[in-house]
């Protein structure tokens, strides 16, 4: 299931403004890759280019190449909608569909695409996805209640279940814990550790301890200066990045000495 992502010479623009410059990296399958860096350094923007979500923002465009195994994601004949089915995404703020029940939220990917499936198949997918998301025990008795009634942490796990229900190869997470309390954060981190057995996971986080705890590899992004595009400074095994990074900039950031 899990696939490798190869990015080469990627530039991201908003209109005339270059937001991210010259990123080349490889994201390994069945591992967790963390993006760290200060606010506004382009790590979220870059994450969104991996499944072509940036296209939703008017004026955003991309130069360079993103390969999902051997599929060129930016090939003109590739349908971005199909790319997003392969590369799922979890957002900063939990966003369950307010008009749907918990059950419907989980199979939303299929439901919204008008895919027909038998009741039994749907039940299976819902149970499997919710179990994967460590949410099944908590919600199995109220599957047909609205998803908005859950706590913040449960909602975020529901969103993860929704993303995994369409069986993507890659799961992108954009600061999934930034709006959650420590206990819910811990639950999500456990979940990430479990999910990496089957998925390629990329997580953007502001929390360096979190990056150190959950990720196998870490990429550090930084701005060259105000108004300058963000760049990938260094990428490597998490252990190495957090103990003896190659770049001075990375070390400053990790140890809390900025700029």
């Amino acid at each position: 299931m899990a696939k490798r992502i190869d990015v080469s010479d990627l530039n991201v623009y908003y209109g005339d403004f270059k937001a991210v410059e010259d990123v080349t990296m490889t994201i390994e399958p069945r591992s967790v890759t963390a993006f760290i860096g200060s606010s506004g350094c382009g790590k979220s923007t870059f994450l969104r280019t991996l499944n072509r979500m940036h296209e939703v923002t008017p004026g955003a465009r991309v130069q360079g190449k993103v390969m999902l195994d051997n599929l060129d994601v930016y090939d003109p004949s590739v349908d971005p909608v199909a790319v997003r089915r392969e590369i799922g995404m979890v957002f900063q703020r939990a966003n369950p569909f307010p008009t749907m029940s918990i059950y419907d939220n989980v199979i939303a990917g299929a439901k919204l695409n008008n895919q027909r499936m038998s009741k039994r198949r749907a039940d299976e997918i819902v149970e499997r996805s919710l179990r994967d998301a460590n949410l099944w025990e908590e919600v199995k008795d109220r599957l047909h209640k609205p998803g908005a009634g859950l706590s913040g942490g449960q909602q975020q796990r529901l969103c993860i279940a929704r993303a995994t229900a369409v069986e993507p190869a890659v799961l992108l997470m954009d600061e999934p814990c930034s709006a959650l309390d420590p206990i819910s954060t811990l639950a999500i981190e456990d979940l990430i550790a479990k999910l990496k057995e089957n998925y390629t996971i990329v997580i953007v986080t502001h929390n360096m301890q979190q990056a150190a705890r959950v990720s196998d590899r870490t990429a550090f992004f930084n701005l060259a200066g105000t108004g300058q595009p963000g760049r990938l400074i260094e990428m490597g095994d998490t252990n190495k990045i957090f103990t003896k990074p190659d770049q001075k900039e990375t070390e400053n950031y990790i140890t809390g000495r900025f700029g």
């Binding site: 696939k3 999902l68 195994d69 051997n70 599929l71 090939d75 004949s77 590739v78 349908d79 909608v81 199909a82 790319v83 089915r85 392969e86």
Partner: protein, 323 residues
């Protein structure tokens, strides 16, 4: 390795934009274009249908105060919009003068004076005022209000008769320009109030607290912080209200005595507005008569368009300013 590769390519269907997306986006754009077409249609059809009377007209359309748009034996087609345009603007002006100060007062009351729960109820009441159909205002004005206003008119004529606007003798029916203006004022009150209320509520807390922190009374706070900030919104609201008053038909048609002239006297009958004239004349009009009514309708359209555009301009300037 090769097998997984081929399955990968199969899983992600390459291809064109989806049919559903194209169809839906084009339907949406089509609806937008249709609106433009309708509006163009309004302008074009009105112009085309007004031509037959305008070419037959022997009087000057813009300056004449006559109204005999249908040719009969020995009768020439002679009509003009002057007196009707005058009446339209006069009625709207009366409404505006009466309604604006009261609307500002109500808006201030709702935002800064009334207790919160009462304020919500009041906002609802004002909306209710806006929801009452104009024909009901007309009925109320004609059958009930004009009789109640008669003593006031006699008072005005007796004590303020030296002002030409209030010169006597007072119309015995009460179906005068002032009555129409008063009813119009009630009708546009909610529009101006709603707009003023919105801008007053948007005055930044920091401005208000700055004034209060300097020891200002509530009125001084309103005068120094609220009114200057809200002025463009109030002006915009007043102009939108005026646009409504210019185009209002039924209340005026029912209250004003049918006649057509230019008169500054508000306590006698004489004036008529474009919209009311159309509604009153249309049922009996034929041929160039209908065409002439369409021609004056076009004039009304142009006047309201100018006023509404100006109002939007004032309001949008304010938006740019605050953002």
């Amino acid at each position: 390795m090769t097998t997984t590769d081929s399955s990968t390519t199969a899983e992600v269907p390459k291809g064109r934009r989806r049919l559903g997306d194209i169809a839906f986006a084009n339907t949406a754009r089509g609806a937008g274009l249709l609106i433009l077409a309708i509006l163009a249609g309004v302008a074009i059809f009105l112009v085309v249908q007004s031509l037959s009377s305008l070419t037959a007209n022997e009087a000057n359309f813009f300056t004449s105060t006559e109204w005999s748009p249908e040719s009969g034996p020995g009768d020439a087609v002679r009509f003009g919009v002057a007196s009707l345009a005058f009446g339209t603007v006069l009625a709207a002006a009366i409404a505006l003068v009466l309604a604006t100060p009261v609307a500002i007062g109500i808006a201030l009351f709702i935002v800064y004076y009334a207790p919160r729960r009462l304020a919500a109820l009041l906002g609802y009441l004002v909306d209710l005022l806006a929801a009452i159909p104009s024909v009901v205002y007309g009925l109320w004005g004609l059958v009930y209000l004009v009789d109640q206003l008669q003593p006031i008119y006699r008072f005005l004529a007796a004590y303020l008769g030296w002002i030409p606007l209030f010169a006597g003798p007072v119309s015995t029916t009460g179906r005068t320009m002032l009555s129409a203006g008063i009813v119009l004022a009630v009708m546009i009150l909610p529009i101006i109030t709603a707009m003023s209320r919105d801008v007053f509520a948007q005055v930044p807390q920091a401005h208000r607290e700055a004034a209060l922190a300097l020891g200002a009374t509530r009125w001084e706070m309103i005068r120094t912080a609220v009114l200057p900030f809200g002025r463009p919104g109030v002006i915009g609201g007043a102009m939108l209200g005026m646009g409504r008053a210019l185009g209002e038909t039924m209340a005026v048609a029912m209250i004003l005595s049918p006649s057509i002239a230019i008169s500054f006297n508000l306590l006698q009958s004489g004036n008529q507005t474009i919209a009311a004239h159309i509604a009153l004349q249309y049922p009996e009009a034929t041929g160039t008569g209908v065409s002439a009514l369409i021609a004056i309708g076009l004039v009304l359209f142009a006047i309201t368009l100018v006023v509404n555009m100006a109002a939007r301009f004032v309001v949008s300037r304010r938006k740019e300013f605050t953002e």
